[in-house]
């Protein structure tokens, strides 16, 4: 049932510059692929208490059985030990990465050890080439690195180029890995892990035929999924405005974190809305491979050179809801182009936009309150002043003083060192996502396996239950149920935007012509197992929900569901501890 390519796992040892392939049908048979398999590979390869930035850390990239067969199975899952949280790290990216990995002839890649010299990996049609990246190391812009590799490697149209920027090289704990210029393994510091291994980039390409057991059924189900994807109103929404369609929605219900969450409403949010950006700056929409939606929105604007009249450059940057929150409203920026330029700086250096925004927002408030001084920040940070923020981004990357060295470690670390923890917005060490929708969102950040908003989807639960009271237990149950199912989606590496299309019924049907016989019930059970496996690994690495810090700020500022109560959140945590069986320990 597991096809001949999916079950192949490529192991790469950077220390000894060698590689080999193992048949891991066992893993793909039991855990499907994607996150299910990646967690197992990480468990096998990562020694307990490994230094996240040492050679013992391991990067696993994995895809699933539906990739290359069906639309919207378009994500690659990366797992590693996070240098930001010191625990399990998981991040997903689209672009061409998933199809390229699958077409290269692998289900997963395990990258171990560390190189002594800067290198990049070129993996074409199943073969690995270790290439010298000495000339790329220290280059200012990820755009340039991408452009050079594009021109020097084969496989145009069939490849992914995953690369890091200066932030990754300089081990900023929330450095990202960028793929196809506009998509990211954004959260939890994969860029720093690659940097610590002196791994500047990974190019993957290939082309092959994937076998089908029942061809007629395959084409039928394909058509069904395709029709749903192109006709669905949700998909249209993401095609028209992209994720920033949420800016106005969240602002209206007072859930849009603004100026370090001193407020949950931004009076100038319209200038950063999906509608405004689409009408005034949208230059092109592009898609991940095998996705008809094309949610990637690229803004374009003209920038004059100051030294010569009529001398311009045309700029491009892709925008999404989260960067708008983190680098826009959180910093009080209302100047649209100012925001785009700040986002561009973050992209050039290869930082996670969300963590960067939350760090800068904390620093601005800390400066305002006199906890730190302009000697620390070098530039005067103040709400809305995007020019200063661009400079601060450069300082985070180059770390010219103690303060920026601390800020490059994340807001949890910086606020432990300097104070101001009450308004340091991090959960389990990861900076906050952009939803102050209510208790479910924050409980999700605290307890979710990634501390992100993505798996538990508390933001969605809050919005669906506006005006209703859920008990803490109900909230946790519903969040856990959602996260459990999403383990299946991320094991099949289906984009979460397509979760409405890929219901348990459709997933079960889609797997059938490929030779899988999994009922909806089987899938749900497997989701639970994968979920448990993740927490086992997290707990092995020291995760304890009872020790989580709840930032005071989230209790002070009104959310879309009113003021949040600490007691409610604590009750939810206790209930969760019981449910995952930690209480007995």
């Amino acid at each position: 049932m597991v096809d001949a390519y999916l079950r192949r796992v490529l192991y790469i040892d950077l220390t000894h510059k060698r590689y080999w392939v193992e048949d891991r049908e066992d893993l793909f048979e039991k855990w499907l692929g994607g996150v299910g398999v990646a967690v197992q590979l990480l468990k096998e390869e990562l020694p307990k208490d490994a230094d996240p930035l040492g050679p013992d850390n391991v990067i696993v990239l994995a895809v699933g059985p539906l990739v290359g067969y069906y639309p919207l199975a378009s994500k690659t899952v990366a797992v590693f030990k996070s240098p930001l949280t010191g625990n399990y790290g998981e991040s997903h990216a689209g672009g061409r990465s998933a199809v390229a990995l699958r077409m290269c002839g692998f289900g997963a890649i395990v990258i171990k050890g560390a190189s002594d010299i800067p290198i990049y990996l070129a993996i074409h049609n199943g073969k690995v080439y270790f290439r010298d990246a000495g000339a790329y190391w220290g280059m200012r812009s990820t755009y340039t690195v991408g452009r050079i590799i594009r021109e020097n490697e084969p496989g145009a149209g069939l490849r992914t180029i995953i690369r890091i920027g200066l932030a990754g090289e300089n081990l900023v704990r929330y450095a990202c890995a960028t793929t196809e210029t506009y998509r990211h393994f954004g959260r939890l510091g994969l860029g720093a892990v690659m940097g610590s291994k002196k791994l500047k980039a990974i190019v993957i390409s290939g082309k092959r035929l994937l076998p089908v057991k029942d061809k007629k059924l395959y084409r039928e189900i394909y058509q069904e999924i395709y029709d749903k994807a192109v006709k669905s109103p949700l998909m249209k929404k993401y095609h028209d405005y992209g994720t920033p369609v949420n800016v106005k929605v969240l602002n209206e219900i007072k859930a849009l974190p603004t100026m370090n969450l001193k407020k949950s409403f931004f009076e100038y949010a319209d200038y950063l809305s999906g509608e405004f950006l689409a009408e005034n700056y949208l230059g092109r929409r592009v898609a991940c491979t095998h996705c008809p939606v094309a949610c990637v929105h690229i803004a374009t604007w003209r920038e004059p050179y100051e030294d010569e009249p009529f001398f311009y450059k045309t700029k491009f940057v892709s925008y999404d809801y989260e960067p708008i929150y983190a680098l826009g409203t959180m910093l009080g920026i209302k100047d649209t182009v100012g925001f785009l330029r700040l986002l561009e700086a973050v992209e050039i250096y290869g930082l996670d936009a969300m963590s960067t925004g939350a760090c800068l927002a904390w620093a601005t408030e800390a400066l305002e309150r006199g906890i730190i001084s302009e000697k620390d920040t070098i530039v005067k940070l103040s709400w809305g002043d995007w020019k200063s923020y661009i400079k601060a981004v450069e300082y985070i990357v180059n770390q010219p003083n103690e303060f920026y060295k601390a800020l490059a470690m994340g807001v949890e670390y910086a606020s432990t060192k300097y104070g101001g923890k009450d308004f340091a917005l991090a959960f389990g060490g990861l900076e906050m996502p952009g939803y102050h929708t209510g208790p479910a969102a924050h409980i999700g950040y605290l307890l979710g396996s990634r501390h992100s908003h993505l798996d538990m989807a508390g933001y969605s639960l809050d919005q669906k239950t506006l005006g209703q009271e859920l008990t803490p237990e109900e909230t946790v149950d519903r969040l856990m149920k959602e996260e459990t199912w999403r383990q299946i989606l991320s094991s099949l590496v289906i984009c979460f935007f397509a979760r409405g299309i890929y219901s348990p019924e459709v997933v079960s049907k889609a797997l059938k012509p490929l030779g899988y016989d999994l009922s909806e019930e089987d899938l749900k059970k497997l989701g639970e197992e994968i979920y448990k496996e993740k927490y086992r690994l997290k707990i092995r690495e020291g995760f304890d929900p009872r020790k989580l810090r709840i930032p005071r700020r989230i209790l002070e500022t009104e959310s879309a569901k009113g003021k949040l109560s600490e007691e409610y959140i604590q009750k939810a945590i206790s209930y969760f501890v019981q449910k995952i069986g930690l209480a007995k320990q």
Binding site: G68, Y69, P71, V99, R102, M103, G146, R147, R150, A156, G157, L158, E180, T181, Y182, K207, R208, L209, L210, P211, V212, K215, K216, Y218, R219, Y222, Y226, V230, G283, R284, R285, V286, A287, C288, T289, H290, C291, P292, A294, V296, I298, T300, F316, L514
Partner: protein
Amino acid sequence: MNYLAKRLTVMDPDRCVGCQLCMFACNRRFGEGGLEKAALHVKSVGGFERGFTVVVCRACIDPPCARVCPTDALTPRPGGGVTLNASKCIGCKACVDACPIDAIFWDDAIGKPIICVYCGYCVNFCPHGVLALEEVGR
């Protein structure tokens, strides 16, 4: 003599979002997954922001690929384009080199060219109106 034939045409490459659903569709004609048998190709112009190049067979009236075929495996199709007789093909790749727009692809698994048959299956899966099937005739 007048012939009416169908050929694939790129209506507007700037509408292309680079999703490659057309390539998957072409490959799926045989009921299988993947991209190996796709007879068209989409790649970025050099960075996604600048858009995409959509490479399809133009169905030339006097096809250079057929002219260079040493075994007559490729023969001109009435109305333009070519037909492949795979049994005659020795896999020399002369057609690949001869095509001025790189629209002949290679099937590594069997060592033969992949030739567009102008069936238009890909058009049904282009959600953004980039591709169309048009009638040509003289």
